[in-house]
């Protein structure tokens, strides 16, 4: 089983901040995710990229955290895109309409090419 502990690393490429997420996105992920987001925000990127390739579980609290991030991104007129979501979570992003506000890409290459 994948290590359920949530971890996040931030890297930058041109005008993009990429948050590499791993583990489970639930209530436990809150502090680390928010800290990483603040760190990325301080570099003032145009686009925030969430990489879900190593995430195997997102619960409703995790969805709420992503909504919070998206709200902050939109407030500062930036954009947010995601990649690496499994089919199941793509369905959930559509169901929650998160997909209406952030483009879902299949791969890192396509997400960063924009």
């Amino acid at each position: 089983m994948v290590d359920p502990t949530f971890q996040v690393k931030v890297r930058y490429q041109e005008d993009k901040a990429i948050l590499d997420l791993s583990g489970e996105i639930n209530a436990f992920a809150d502090p680390a995710l928010m800290a990483a987001f603040s760190e990325a925000e301080s570099k003032d990127p145009d686009t925030f990229v969430l990489n879900f390739e190593e995430v195997d579980y997102i619960n409703s609290t995790g969805i709420a955290l992503i909504v919070e991030l998206l709200a902050q991104v939109r407030k500062s007129k930036k954009s947010m895109v995601v990649y690496g979501l499994s089919d199941h979570y793509v369905e959930i992003f559509k169901l929650t309409r998160l997909a209406d506000f952030m483009t879902i890409y299949d791969s890192q290459a396509s997400a960063l090419a924009v």
Partner: protein, 538 residues
């Protein structure tokens, strides 16, 4: 010490240097003669006593002992042998052939080899334990596989649906133990107004029980087609089963024929629990005696008749309920069952009350010892000639089988484990990956709500999850102890409002659940909230 000697399994590892992978100077890498890489020392070999009494080097040619093992060592060219002992147990021998120089082993050689033996022993011990664990893990896996097969056989042979009869209500609860037992039941429509009902319990567990169950079921069905009398049906099945059934196995069985137009019930009993009849005057046993099937040929089975009047009901049960033990090793017992049955209720309610009472009786950490089968037969008050205000109260319950029953402590993150175990319990249903993932999310979210809101994350307050199916639908019922607020109505969360900061970013749980399953229902009483998820299987 003697007892320990008996339990020793003695493997003798030969070819000292190569065995331990430590290069040894001047030792012959392969002693002449036979192979001693693996040989067992009989527990009565005097060499064993000698080693345990005087650990240290054994000079094979010099030791004068009437020992077959010592002779074997000599025959294979072993000159000196160092016992490998770990925690007082002989776990091997470090055997050396002649030196390449053909000189005698020196005192220094002995000291070096003894040091090596002392250091190699714990390492060898660890390797042996690891090896044993690997074998045990493989055995466990095989056992699990067997249980799965047994359960599939059993499930396949149970009726897919319960007969629907006007003015009669039938309900069944069948709950296999983890180590699948041999409970089964069957319905045989004999003619328009005559229904045969079988409830039976095969001794033993696993695949043997499942195979005997399959045979018995066929024999009973064939006999029921040929004979009108329940006693004759059991006698015939017994005679045919007897030559084929494995030794020490037998089947207890109750066979009833109901005349649905008159309420007449004829039945015969092969050593099974007696049926309980609930009347306005209390609960009575309906008696009939006979030997279990498969024990002795040529048996007669007493036949009894009773009439089920409108408003009366009959309970058939297997041992799993009455013989369940609590933590004080007391049995659930018939008096308790009888007491619960006196209360006014329909069949499905009775089954629910019995199961609740069982859960209360056994407490937490209960592992079901045996299969539990409960079957109720009721004759409705609205039967012809008897006026009733409640004509619709009698529904023909569809048979539901419990696939699993879990209890989880309420702690943050606990929903993940719950969802994983629920998924494991429905493996035999072969749902697609997409549907499994949806179900996983729905169960996790419902359990999260139950743990967080219902039980306020109090670890000692459990969330109860029941998984069952009636072959049309899969049901998952998640129950909390209702300490928090009641389950709200599911609404469509407004993402625009959330993003604009006008609504909390949270509140997705129920919406997700509802969209991940085919049906979602919530119920509550004073002490519990239950959320029921249903998935269509057809």
């Amino acid at each position: 010490m003697t007892a320990q000697n008996q339990s020793l399994w003695q493997r003798v590892f030969g070819r000292g240097a190569t065995e331990t992978e430590v290069p040894m100077p001047q030792a012959a890498p392969h002693p002449p003669g036979g192979d001693v890489s693996s040989l067992d020392i009989p527990p009565d070999d005097p060499l064993l006593t000698y080693i345990l009494n005087s650990p240290g080097v054994i000079e094979v040619d010099k030791l004068n002992l009437d020992s077959p093992t010592l002779q074997d060592l000599r025959d294979t060219g072993v000159k000196v042998s160092f016992p490998l002992v770990s925690q007082g147990e002989l776990i091997g021998l470090l055997n050396m052939g002649s030196r390449l120089s053909e000189q005698e082993y020196s005192r220094d050689d002995f000291r070096l080899l003894q040091d090596l033996a002392t250091q190699a022993s714990p390492a060898l011990r660890v390797a042996q334990l690891a090896q044993r664990q690997k074998i045990e893990a493989r055995q466990r896996e095989r056992l699990e596989q067997e249980l799965r097969v047994a359960r599939i056989i059993q499930e396949t042979l149970l009726p897919k649906e319960i007969p629907s009869l006007p003015d009669w209500g039938l309900a069944v609860h069948w709950q296999p133990a983890r180590e699948v037992g041999g409970d089964f039941y069957d319905f045989i429509q004999l003619s328009e107004h005559r229904l045969g009902i079988i409830i039976a319990d095969v001794t033993d567990k696993g695949i043997p029980a499942a195979m005997v169950m399959a045979t018995t079921r066929s024999l009973l069905r064939a006999a029921a087609e040929n004979f009108d009398s329940p006693g004759m049906v059991l006698a015939r099945a017994n005679d045919l089963l007897y030559p084929d059934i494995p030794a020490k196995m037998f089947v207890t069985c109750l066979y009833l024929i109901i005349d649905t137009s008159t309420g007449l019930i004829q039945f015969a009993n092969a050593g099974h629990n007696l049926p309980y009849l609930r009347t306005d005057n209390g609960v009575v046993e309906a008696r009939a005696t006979g030997m279990p099937l498969g024990l002795m040929p040529g048996m007669d089975y007493e036949e009894t008749e009773t009439t089920l009047m409108p408003g009366q009901s009959l309970l058939l049960s297997s041992d799993g309920l009455v013989e369940a033990h609590n933590q004080e090793r007391e049995m659930f017992g018939f008096p308790r069952l009888k007491q619960i049955m006196t209360e006014d209720q329909n069949g499905k309610e009775l089954i629910g009350m019995l199961l609740n009472s069982l859960a209360e009786f056994t407490g937490d950490d209960y592992e079901q010892e045996d299969d539990i089968t409960l079957l109720t037969i009721e004759r409705s008050n609205s039967a012809p000639g008897i006026p009733s205000e409640n004509q619709t109260a009698m529904v023909n319950d569809v048979s539901e089988r419990t696939l699993a029953h879990f209890s989880f402590p309420s702690q943050p993150g606990g929903e993940r484990q719950a969802a994983a175990q629920v998924l494991e319990s429905i493996e035999t249903l072969n749902l697609s990956k997409t549907r499994r993932k949806r179900l996983e999310t729905a169960v996790a979210e419902a359990t999260l709500n139950a743990m967080e809101h219902g039980n306020q994350y109090q670890a000692d307050v459990p969330v109860d999850i029941q998984v069952s199916t009636d072959d049309q639908k899969l049901y998952i019922r998640i129950t909390d102890q209702g300490m928090g607020t009641s389950i709200p109505e599911s609404t469509h969360p407004d993402l625009d409002a959330k993003l604009a900061g006008e609504q909390s970013p949270r509140g997705w749980g129920l919406y997700l659940i509802k969209n991940m399953v085919d049906e979602m229902h919530t119920t509550q009483d004073e002490e519990h909230h239950t959320i029921e998820l249903a998935i269509y299987l057809a």
